[in-house]
Amino acid sequence: MSALALDPAGRRWLRRARIAAILAALAGVLLLAVSGWFLTAAALAGTAGPMAALGFNYLIPSAAIRGLAILRTAGRYGERLFSHQAALGAMAALRAGLFARLAAQDGRTGPDLAGGDASARLIGDIDALEELIVREPVRSASWVAAGAGVLLAGLAGWAAALALLLLLAALPPLLDRAARRLTRQPAHDAAEALGALRTRYVEYAAARAEIAAYGLADRVTGDLSRFAADLDAARARLHRGEGVIAALLAGYAALAVALVLRLADAPAPRVALALLVAAGAVEAMAGLARTAFRRAGVAAGLRRLDALLALPEPVAAPASTEAMPLRLGGLDLAPGARVAVTGRSGSGKTVLLETLAGLRGAAVDAAVGGLAPAACSGAMLRAQFALAPQDPALIAGTIADNLRLARPGVDRESIWAVLRVVALEDRIGGFPEGLDTRLGEAGGTLSGGERKRLSLARALLAGRPWLLLDEPTEGLDPATESEMVARLDAWLAASNTGLVLVSHRRAPIGLAGNVVAIEDIATSPCRTRV
């Protein structure tokens, strides 16, 4: 499947858009042709005397001119609407297909798009593609207008028509070559310069406090301006390239008209018609020029999207939901056991939890049901563990949406039960919209600590044999903390759920019966993703 492939409905809309575009382009060329012919013929009839003038059939041409003006308008409107309809539908299908394909990948080996940059690039690629589809109908219209132009120019003699045909046939490859020459290097340079500027900028942004404290803004801005200058230079070349294409078209139109004029061999009205048609036909090719220019720019994005769509569709193997024993370092843990993992920050505690959760494939000295996590299928790990990560990882939507992520169709009773465990029932009960309160809007409905507890409630709802908690009580005052720890203790006991806990705080560590040092587990704290 290619990113540019359309479904039948999309193809239908695109066909309609193409017809509308062709009608608009034909009407545009004919409007000029009929106008030119009408004017010249009217002048000849006018000078031939009042009798000739009265005998001149002006009704058909003048009606045709007005009709063509309306047809051109309607055609353009239809083309824009239908092409957007095709593109929007195609992009919706592409987004859905891409998402399904990406979601089905094993997070440990699939492409990592969680980062802001990667997802922003994906969105940018899709948007660029949408524009390409929107412009697609204009391409066919350009060809039809050119063909009509050649036929109409034939009224002024075969030599003129042949010259126009040759000129118009040579134009698309010329535009294509020019567009590629003008865009390839600058587009590449611009992407490189943008990346370099962003990398350096992000480094400085991370050192913001020192830059501010010691007044180093000018030095840093000066250093960044070198990278910005590279970016500007490449983008300026791209923009001037567009100017070259526009200039090429303008010169080409003049050349075509001049050639048709020299080669025409017909009465004045027909030559007038051919001259305006030649100019119109070249102008109709402008659509082709714009797509050629854009196409060269989106080629890389198209390749990236096609690569994502070509990802294999993994077969989902059903995994046993039965609780399995866990081994961490030298410690053997039966289902329902609880362990706290301690160690310095940055020593790999979070990596361990994420590895057990199947989010990443680090090498750790641990075993699930006797197997190293890396050897377990994603489905098997998911069936065993429910993670409340350090960053709460909530999705945009309501509180209920977030909780239902872990267990679809869960009733409100169970939701309130877990919210009670994490000491959020009063807070959320106090919202006018309760569970249907939307998160993530400006102002932030929940504080950082509350978001973490919501994330914990979600993990509880999942009902897995093992719970993985990363700093669950962070940002809580001691009273709330001890309250929540006591409720969690009761919940764990009642549901016979095992616990792997990472925390710096004393109260939650009290939940665990065992303590293991991370130094005994983490054999390689860095990611081993391919």
Partner: protein, 507 residues
């Protein structure tokens, strides 16, 4: 205004065609003069296109350079209304600038041309046929009315709806970012169906909105076509002598044809403007976002001599982060630790105390209650800034007039002597990544810099994180020593460092 050059080119081109047609109609052969006019017109138009693009991008990049000069220092060192993630900051400083450049390079020149160019075209047409020129100008009236009708009310409603729809399509981005956790809970099939339904709905509703939004484009198209048709019909009837009223002007074929060939030029600038509408919207959105950051912070009152730090009821409330209110005092020689786990906002609180982000409430003053002078605050970062240059230059970033002896002394004080001895002294060349330096060594460079600055208040962000036990202990000892003569505030979750502090403020 360079696009105006296009119009003389178009006029020469039209004149060439008109000359050719009228001499053919008079029974003469096509003149070389006409060919020359046509080619000259084409050459001028080509030149105008080249020049206009070159001038436009230069002007646009000058505007962007101005924005960068204002925004970079603001984002990288100014007081911000809320802390920005490095990615957010980069989006403002880099991606928004690209949007502004596109707007300035495409929309602004098109708008400038769209005001003057139609009038210039009408004036040129008037030389050949003032009635045709009048016809062109008169179409502007219903055109303007149509744009107001189709444009304003309907389009504004449509834009509002489109903004609301952006949220629906934003779902895709959000769910892509949340993919790891979605997979973890095995919800990928459900969420994939939800994403499919949402994107489908967004597409369907967008089409409904576009039907209205494209109307203004249709109005423009209609009048562009109608103006050509009206000129053609008028000129045709005038040449036939069949006008239903006394002819207002004497029209020759040459003049009439010139007017006809020029007529499409009348609405061309407005069509170019409409084509740049998308760039305008993106550019305006970018400028609005940047203006939020740029909004000047109130000038701090005159600062007083530092005699200790007083933090009263300081509170932070940003989306996703709420801290405080907290209060504490720091004597002029003191060590206080702010503690809390990673992500609890210690660094943000330090930044608020340093005046780099605006707090939601509370006050940060000297012990006597006067305003704090930013030049009294030294900052030792978790990942210190390194600029390409020597080690000595990097230490001296805080005070450029420091002597080599002073630099060597602070370097020894923070325990950098080993590096200096092993790797070629203070002249050791560093790149901006600090390649070859360990995390502990970089941390020490930051501390050396802070000490060299001789500033009375030292703020340290996680000075012992990621260090092995021995180096961490050395840093703690050093900070104790420094605290004997300066006010030191550390943000840390290291119990050893917290134990060394006179006061521990837990978040």
């Amino acid at each position: 205004m360079t696009w105006l050059l296009d119009i003389p080119g178009a006029a020469l081109f039209a004149a060439g065609i008109a000359l050719a047609v009228s001499s053919l109609a008079a029974g003469e052969g096509p003149s070389w003069g006409a060919v020359a006019l046509i080619l000259a017109g084409g050459a001028i138009r080509a030149g105008a296109a080249l020049l206009a693009h070159a001038v436009a991008i230069r002007a646009a990049q000058r505007v962007v350079a101005g924005w960068r000069a204002r925004i970079f220092p603001r984002l990288l060192a100014g007081r911000l209304p809320r802390p920005l993630l490095a990615g957010e900051s980069a989006a403002l400083a880099i991606d928004h600038m690209v949007a502004i450049e596109a707007c300035e390079a495409r929309f602004r020149p098109a708008r400038a041309a769209s005001a003057a160019a139609p009038l210039l075209v009408a004036a040129i047409v008037a030389c050949a046929s003032w009635v045709s020129a009048t016809i062109l100008l008169v179409t502007l009236v219903p055109f303007a009315l149509g744009m107001i009708l189709a444009g304003s009310a309907a389009r504004r409603a449509a834009e509002r709806q489109l903004a609301a729809l952006a949220g629906l399509s934003g779902l895709f981005v959000d769910r892509i970012r949340a993919l790891p956790i979605i997979r973890h809970f095995g919800a990928e099939d459900r969420i994939a169906r939800q994403v499919a339904a949402a994107t489908r709905e967004a597409a369907d509703r967008t089409v409904a909105v576009l039907r209205v939004a494209f109307l203004s484009g249709a109005v423009l198209e209609f009048f562009a076509a109608l103006s050509v048709a009206l000129v053609a019909v008028y000129c045709g009837f005038a040449l036939l002598g069949l006008l239903p009223f006394p002819p207002p002007e004497k029209l020759s074929l040459g003049h009439a044809f010139f007017a006809l060939a020029m007529a499409p030029e009348f609405y061309l600038p407005m069509r170019r403007l409409a084509a740049a509408y998308h760039e305008k919207q993106l550019g305006n959105a970018a400028m609005a976002a940047l203006a939020d950051v740029e909004a000047p912070a109130p000038a701090p009152p005159a600062a007083a001599r530092f005699d200790g730090l007083r933090v009263v009821q300081l509170a932070i409330a940003w989306p996703g982060l709420r801290i405080g209110p907290i209060g504490f005092e720091l004597a002029s020689a003191d060590l206080v630790a702010l503690t809390g786990p990673t992500g609890s906002g210690k660094s943000s609180l330090l930044a608020a105390i340093a005046g780099q982000v605006a707090p939601a409430g509370g006050a940060v003053t000297t012990a006597r209650g006067d305003a704090l002078d930013p030049a009294d605050i030294a900052w030792a970062a978790q990942t210190p800034l390194l600029l390409p240059g020597t080690l000595a230059e990097n230490i001296a970033l805080a005070r450029s007039d420091a002597t080599p002896e002073e630099i060597a002394r602070v370097a020894g004080q923070v325990g950098l002597d080993a590096v200096i001895a092993a790797r070629g002294g203070l002249g050791l060349m560093l790149d901006h990544r600090g390649s070859g330096l360990s995390g502990g060594e970089r941390r020490r460079i930051g501390l050396a810099r802070a000490l060299l600055s001789r500033r009375p208040l030292l703020l340290c962000d996680e000075p012992t994180a990621d260090l092995d036990r021995a180096s961490a202990a050395a840093i703690v000892a050093l900070l104790r020593e420094v605290a004997a003569e300066r006010a030191v505030l550390v943000a840390t979750h290291d119990p050893a460092l917290a134990a060394a502090a006179r006061l521990v403020v837990a978040l």
